[in-house]
């Protein structure tokens, strides 16, 4: 029997497992293959890629503005059509005017008055009524309403029954209906005949009358044109409205009340946003430092560089006559930023407002690097991560030391996650597009508090995570950004308002301390959305 060695515990166990092998189950390779196939396909959240987000934002903006113009145009067009239709009596009213004995049951008349119609001399003769009678009655009315009558020098020969209502005996008006700014006058004697019923709907007045009384008394129903207040036209378009649709009627008083509800002075809101997140990191002379480190390591190791001979980055010159070192690459690409927070605002004047709040921002970017630092404890890291970590914990700038060995190898991608707390302060100018819709132009500054930077290496041979917090010496704990944006807001009801828009933010100063070679100016251009409670 072989003599037992003392203190051979570890050796025995190492030897026991040295060439151990266990056959995996047959299904394991299939699982790995499926996983490989899945990863080669398009990623599920492809729309979160910066290019897709940018295109999405552009599409959303175009749709929002396009929709705004479209609906704004349609509203005006509808009002314009109403005005046009108002000059055209309906077919049954024309029949009444051309028949001697109109049936009052047929009197489903849409009474919409347009002043210029009454000056039309070519209106058809009112059937069954002598011109003298009409003229007489009209003149009587004119006298009693002299103050208002200004355009009655010419008496219309024919006034359609559909739009005029008046008795020959009495000019006093007993019913005045105002429907959609249309004034309708109906004389007292009609009611004396106990036969008139005026129903007011949103757009029509239906007059029902005992036809025999109407016919036998030969009473003519017409409205005195001079008493009809002429319709005012108002410029109600916007710069986005085509010129021909700009003239529409006044808004009703009731609409004014709805607009007034938007005159609240304060608001509180919940807001969020998504945008491409670009740290805008300028690496300065970092790659030079990396190359110096790599050369030092290559010289010390005195071994052939592991770089592939096919690599396009090979530097032909051999720095020390021993090894060749590839050019270092440390490229940072944009990721996605998501922010959320609360906002509060104050309306300084009718158009101007001030808005502030607090936002939490989480954004990521990608580091593509071929430069790694291997430390004495066997842990490897990307050169940039190593540089950041070292500078975050020391007051002195980065210097090569014995614990770091830098090599330039094949490129890989690594994740970079940033967290910020932001306090924006923005001045807003509101452009009213309709009673509920408004466009806000915003500009201001944001105070940005750096919270954390995490560098994630999804690679088992590298240190998997480095976290640099706000107390580090590499990132400035506080920075200032410029803000600007456009926001469309829609008043859902008296208190609640939804809004969506785009915003641009860029750091005014570098977020990294000047003692290093790096500079970072955070930049985001994205979409923001949220709801406000106004009071």
């Amino acid at each position: 029997m072989e003599p037992l060695k003392q203190n051979n515990f570890e050796e025995e166990w190492q030897r026991a497992f040295e060439n151990a092998s266990i056959s995996p189950s047959d299904a394991l390779w299939d699982k790995i293959e499926r996983e490989l196939d899945r990863k080669e396909r398009r990623p599920f959240l492809f729309f979160l890629r910066p290019s897709a987000v940018t295109m999405g934002l552009a599409a959303a903006l175009v749709m929002a503005l396009g929709g705004l113009l479209f609906f704004n145009k349609n509203t005006k067009k509808n009002q314009y059509e109403i005005a046009q239709n108002a000059v055209k009596p309906k077919q049954n009213s024309e029949q009444i005017s051309t028949q001697n004995v109109p049936k009052i049951d047929d009197f489903n008349i849409e009474i919409i008055v347009q002043p210029q119609d009454f000056s039309n001399k070519e209106l058809p003769t009112l059937a069954g009524n002598s011109r003298e009678t009409l003229e007489k009655n009209f003149l009587e009315n004119k006298k009693s309403n002299k103050a208002k009558n200004q355009n009655l020098n010419e008496i219309p020969e024919n006034i359609p029954q559909s739009i005029l209502a008046k008795t020959e005996k009495n000019s006093s008006r007993n019913i005045v209906q105002n429907i959609e700014n249309q004034t309708i006058l109906i004389d007292k004697n009609i009611s004396e005949n106990n036969n008139i019923l005026v129903q007011n709907t949103e757009s029509q007045v239906i007059i029902s009358k005992n036809e025999s009384n109407l016919v036998n008394n030969s009473r003519n129903i017409f409205a005195e044109t001079s008493l009809l207040e002429s319709k005012k036209y108002t410029y109600f378009g916007s710069r986005y409205t085509l010129n021909r649709n700009k003239l529409v009627f006044d808004t009703e008083p009731t609409e004014t009340k709805i607009i007034a509800s938007n005159d609240s002075k304060f608001w509180l809101g919940i807001q969020s946003g998504v945008s491409p997140f670009d740290p805008k990191m300028s690496l300065g002379g970092l790659n030079v430092v990396a190359l110096q480190d790599a050369n030092s390591f290559a010289k010390a190791s005195n071994v052939q560089s592991p770089s592939s001979p096919n690599s396009p980055n090979i530097v032909a010159s051999d720095m020390q006559g021993n090894v060749a070192v590839s050019q270092p690459q440390n490229a940072i690409k944009s990721g996605v930023g998501i922010n959320m927070g609360v906002a509060y605002g104050y309306k300084i004047s009718k158009k101007w407002s001030l808005e502030s709040g607090i936002r939490y921002l989480r954004g990521n970017s990608t580091l593509q690097s071929n430069t790694y630092s291997f430390q004495q404890n066997g842990i490897a890291n990307t050169f940039l991560a190593n540089y950041l970590v070292q500078n975050s914990s020391r007051s002195a700038a980065y210097t090569t030391n014995n614990s770091t060995n830098t090599v330039v190898a094949d490129a890989s991608k690594f994740g970079n996650l940033y967290k910020y707390l932001m306090i924006p302060m923005q001045l807003g100018y509101e452009i009213g597009l309709s009673k509920k819709l408004g466009l806000n132009l915003l500009a201001g500054i944001s105070t940005d508090f750096f919270l954390q930077n995490t560098i994630v290496n999804d690679n088992s041979i590298l240190q998997e995570k480095n976290t640099i917090d706000g107390s580090s010496k590499i990132y400035k704990p506080l920075n200032i950004s410029g803000l600007g944006g456009i926001r469309v807001s829609y008043l859902l009801n008296k208190h609640w308002q939804a809004n969506i828009g785009t915003s641009y933010q860029k750091a005014l100063f570098s977020g990294i301390n000047s003692s290093t070679a790096l500079q970072m100016r955070l930049q985001m251009f994205g979409i923001n959305y949220g709801v406000n409670y106004r009071f």
């Binding site: 026991a16 995996p24 189950s25 041979i461």
Partner: protein, 187 residues
Amino acid sequence: MHSEQELVQACIRQERLAQRQLYTQFAGKLLATAMRYMKNKTDAEDVLQDSFIKIYQKLTAFRFDCPLEAWLRKIVVNTALKALQNQPNWTQHTDSQLVSDKIEQEEFTLSGFEFEQLMEIVQSLPDGCRTVFNLYAIEGYQHNEIAELLGVSVGTSKSQFSRARVLLQAKLKNRGIIYTPQTSKES
């Protein structure tokens, strides 16, 4: 048959046959490594699956400055550690401190044991001391490196190893191994 370098380059080019060859060549040994860290074969195969996915993705970072098998085993070990650390009761397993770090220096041999028996004994250890035992005794890490890898103190690493050693000695003794314990202080 590819050489090791050709095999790696073909895997980097995502050639499925080469990937399969790499798997066939190393899966057995790597599974044995994973099984030392995990409680059972199912968990070990999960670790091996994740490891191979990482291997195929990160082969570009392999610089041929060490044997390929060592590089692959390091990935498997790190993946296993990550899986263990994601377990809900991981902290409980690693936080326990032994009062004494005195260990018994014994003389013994494992030659009388089948590999399967030894694997069974190792797998029967609690998670914390099994992990430290594997890292220290088999992989050759130092206690300060283990402390950094696991996020525990050096003292915890040492005491977990002591505990593993005591438990293993007891289990081996129960199975008939002959050894002569001698008490000494670990430097």
